[in-house]
Symmetry: C2
Subunit: 263 residues, 2 copies
C-alpha cells in the first residue's frame, strides 16, 4: 500500500494514530480508541473521518481474525508546501491488520524487566496526551537497548518526572492508592490507561494522578504498565544504570488482567 509523498503525515507528522488489539474477532476498547482519535483530530483541527463509518469499517476488518493488531493512521491529507494547512485538505486514512506478536500471549502473565531511558520527553501541554505521528522521542528511546529480556523503557520529562513507557502507561500501587503520572505536559494518554482508571473503583482503589519520581517507584508496593495491545503487564525489575528496583507483588495487575480477558 502506498501514499502520496505530499501527504502531510509524511511531510510534518501531521496526523494521529491508534494501535488496537483484535481479540476474538472484535476490536478491544473500540469506543475509547474512536474517542481518542476524534479528540486528536479536533485538537489538531483535522477534518477526520466519520467515526460512525470508521467504527463499522474497523468492526468489519476485525471480524476476519480471532487475534491481531489493527493500526489506524489518520493524517490531515495531501497539502501544498508550507506548514499552514489550508483547511480544505481531505484526510488520509490508513488501516493495516497485523498478526499478534507471539510474545504478547506467552509473556502476558510474566512480570517484566524494564529500564529507565536517557531520552527525555519534550514538554508541550498543547500536544500532551495525544497519540500524534510525531513519535521520534519514542523511537530514540526504544533504540537505547537491544537486550530482548528488557520489555519496556520508562521515559522522564526534562524535569526528571517519570511520565510513561515508550509504548505504555505506568501505574504504581501502595495500599489502596493507585497512582499514575499526570499527562498534562507530555506523554500519551493510552486507552488501556483510561480503562484501568475506570475500573479502579471496583477494586476499591483510590486513583491519584500526579507527578511521579524515581523515589515513588522504589516506595510503591506494586508497579505495572498498560498498553492497548499487551493489556496489563506487571513489573518485577526496574533498571537504572547499576541500580535495580525489585517488586514482588503483582495482584492488582493480575486482577485487572482477569477482568480484561473476560471483556
Amino acid at each position: 500500500m502506498r501514499i502520496d509523498c505530499r501527504d502531510r503525515g509524511l511531510q510534518y507528522g501531521d496526523g494521529v494514530f491508534e494501535t488496537m488489539r483484535v481479540h476474538q474477532g472484535r476490536v478491544r476498547l473500540l469506543e475509547y480508541h474512536l474517542e481518542r482519535l476524534g479528540l486528536g483530530c479536533r485538537r489538531l483541527d483535522i477534518a477526520g473521518p466519520s467515526l460512525t463509518a470508521l467504527r463499522r469499517e474497523l468492526e468489519r476488518i476485525a471480524s476476519r481474525r480471532s487475534e491481531g493488531v489493527l493500526k489506524l493512521i489518520v493524517t490531515r491529507g495531501v497539502g501544498r508546501r508550507g506548514y499552514r494547512p489550508t483547511g480544505r485538505e481531505k484526510c488520509t486514512r490508513i488501516l493495516t491488520l497485523h498478526a499478534l506478536p507471539k510474545t504478547v500471549l506467552s509473556d502476558a502473565s510474566t512480570p517484566a524487566r524494564v529500564r529507565l531511558c536517557a531520552m527525555p520527553l519534550g514538554l508541550n501541554p498543547r500536544l500532551a496526551g495525544l497519540k500524534t505521528l510525531n513519535r521520534l522521542e519514542s523511537v530514540v528511546a526504544r533504540s537505547e537497548w537491544s537486550d530482548a529480556r528488557i520489555w519496556e523503557g520508562l521515559m522522564r520529562d526534562v524535569d526528571e518526572n517519570i511520565v510513561c513507557g515508550t509504548m505504555s502507561n505506568l501505574f504504581l500501587r501502595s495500599g489502596p492508592n493507585l497512582m499514575t503520572p499526570v499527562l498534562d505536559r507530555c506523554g500519551v494518554a493510552g486507552v488501556m490507561r483510561r480503562w484501568v482508571l475506570q475500573r479502579a473503583g471496583e477494586l476499591r482503589l483510590n486513583v491519584i494522578e500526579r507527578r511521579i519520581r524515581w523515589r515513588d517507584l522504589s516506595e510503591a508496593e506494586e508497579v505495572f504498565m498498560s498498553n492497548a495491545v499487551v493489556g496489563l503487564r506487571s513489573v518485577a525489575v526496574i533498571e537504572h544504570g547499576r541500580e535495580r528496583l525489585r517488586h514482588t507483588l503483582f495482584e492488582t495487575a493480575n486482577q485487572l488482567r482477569r477482568r480484561l480477558d473476560s471483556l
Copy 2:
C-alpha cells in the same frame, strides 16, 4: 510520487529534511544543507545516503531551473511495526522541486510584520537544532493566524524564551552586538542562521547566542529573521495581543542580503 505506507517517515516522523533555495541553477548553501542532513542522520542513527552522491544529484536537479525550491526528505525507510529500528532499514530519499513562491522575491526587502504564537515549543535537548519530520508544533503555530499581511510567527519555549519562527531563525542587533536565541533545548538551527553567524565578523558584529525574552525584542535596535528560501527579512512590527513593537532600523539585514545576493 508515492511511498510505501510502512515507511517510518510516515509512521513515526522518523527522518529529517532540508528545504533549499535554487538560485541561478545552483543550490544556495548546499554544503551547509548537506552537513546538517548528515548531522541529523547521525544523531538519529539513520544510515543516510552518501553525501557525495546526494550533492551530485542535487546539483543536477537544481541546474534545470534558475529559481526554485528543492525539498529533500530522508527517512529511516520501511520498517516493521514497533518503534525500535532493526538497524537494517534502507533509508528513503524523496526529492521534489517547486516553483519559488512569487512573494519571496517581491517581499524580500519589505520589512515584515510578525506575531507571537501561543503554541509552545517542547524542550528536548536530544533533538534540539535538528530539522526532523516531527513538525506538528510548527504546523499548529502556523495555523494560529490567517492574515496574509503577517509573514511569520515567533515561538517560545515553555519557559517563555523566544526561540525561533515557525520556519525561520531570529536575530536582534543592539549597537555592535548581534544576538540570536541559543538552540540547545529546542528549535531548528537553520542553515541561513549559520551563514549569518559566520558573516557577522565581516560586519564587525559580536555574536551572542543566549536566551531571548520579550523585553530583549523591545530593547533591540534592529530585528530580522533568516530562512534558507527567503534569505534575510527585516522585522518592522511584532504583535503580541494588543501590544505592538515597532522597529525602524534595517541596515544589518540589508547589508547581509546584499552579500547573500552576490553569492
